[in-house]
Amino acid sequence: MKIADPLLAILQRHVGDFAAAPILNVSRERVGWTTGALARERVGTFLRFVELGLKVYVDDLTQRARCVAELETLLRGERAPAPAEAVAAVELSIASEDEVLDARMRARRMLAALGFSGVDEVKALTVVSELTRNILKYAGRGTLKLSAARDGSGCVVGVLIVATDSGPGIANLEEIMSGRYRSKTGMGRGLLGTKAIVDEFSITSEPGKGTRVSVLKRFGVRR
């Protein structure tokens, strides 16, 4: 195991020999991975446990994301991550709290790869959290799409987050977005809060058909 485990080698490079083995072993145990290859649908859960372990040893969010990205590349049998791949658009199914956590983790990694940091990163993550909750709570299932937002010359300027569901829709959308209406469940607060921390926000909803929320979050100019 010392020589043969490429996962361990990646972890050792990021957290050192001392912490690498415990993180790997605990994550394997929690996900129930004893022998053979890890089932594809378990990869996300496994990586989340690894990330929890990494959090103890690595303060730098970007480095944590990079480590997890390397592990994921290996586990999913893809080739080494090119920058273009790290920022490739993803479409995630949201139908359980587990998938909400997965979406947050994927978003965190993508944001780091795109160049987000600090307040902008927390804001974008918060948006992901709000929109995925709305899907789960009001529609039961839906999808979240994350992609790089580019300017006319192709430079990455931010992230596009699109949440779509085929749920019951929002009957009093106008009232909610005007701030006059406060639901018991906090739907108004979540959507208005989301609108306040992004650069572009649009929502369409048809009762009985579903809801689509699309936002653009730019990141500040980095020194």
Partner: protein, 140 residues
């Protein structure tokens, strides 16, 4: 399934320290996790009769509308049971995000870090200091 089992039994630990309850959140909070925490803290308050409740968010990655409201509810619930609450460890980025979203924890006392939170919750009569046993005395 082990992973689902781990998720279903996952909870934020509530620690009993110097007659206070300490909740240190070191994970990405979910709705289910924070709902479970409310129940756990309520039970611990009834069982322990603490002088205060400290909730430290230094390890949390984000607070959105639902989570903020849940934490505020938790603090109000503790207050109704006669226990003061201090929330600590909000990062600057999280604080700015909350303010801009119009979400507030205004009814709740806050502190920069857990250390300050514990000092704020001290009743000042020495009752929360660790008790040292005299020879032959058994301290429970």
């Amino acid at each position: 399934m082990p992973a689902d089992f781990a998720r279903a039994t996952e909870r934020v630990p509530v620690i009993w320290l110097q007659r206070k309850l300490v909740v240190a959140i070191q994970v990405s909070l979910t709705d289910a996790l924070v709902d479970r925490l409310k129940v756990d803290v309520g039970g611990e308050i009834a069982r322990r009769n603490p002088v205060g409740l400290a909730i430290d968010l230094s390890g949390a990655d984000l607070l959105d509308s639902y989570l903020t409201q849940a934490l505020r509810d938790l603090a109000l619930m503790a207050q109704l049971m006669g226990v003061r609450t201090v929330i600590s460890g909000l990062s600057p980025a999280m604080a700015i995000t909350l303010v801009e979203m119009g979400l507030e924890l205004s009814a709740v006392a806050t502190a920069l870090d857990l250390d300050h939170a514990l000092v704020m919750l001290d009743p000042g009569d020495g009752s929360s200091s660790p008790r040292l046993s005299a020879p032959g005395e058994v301290v429970l």
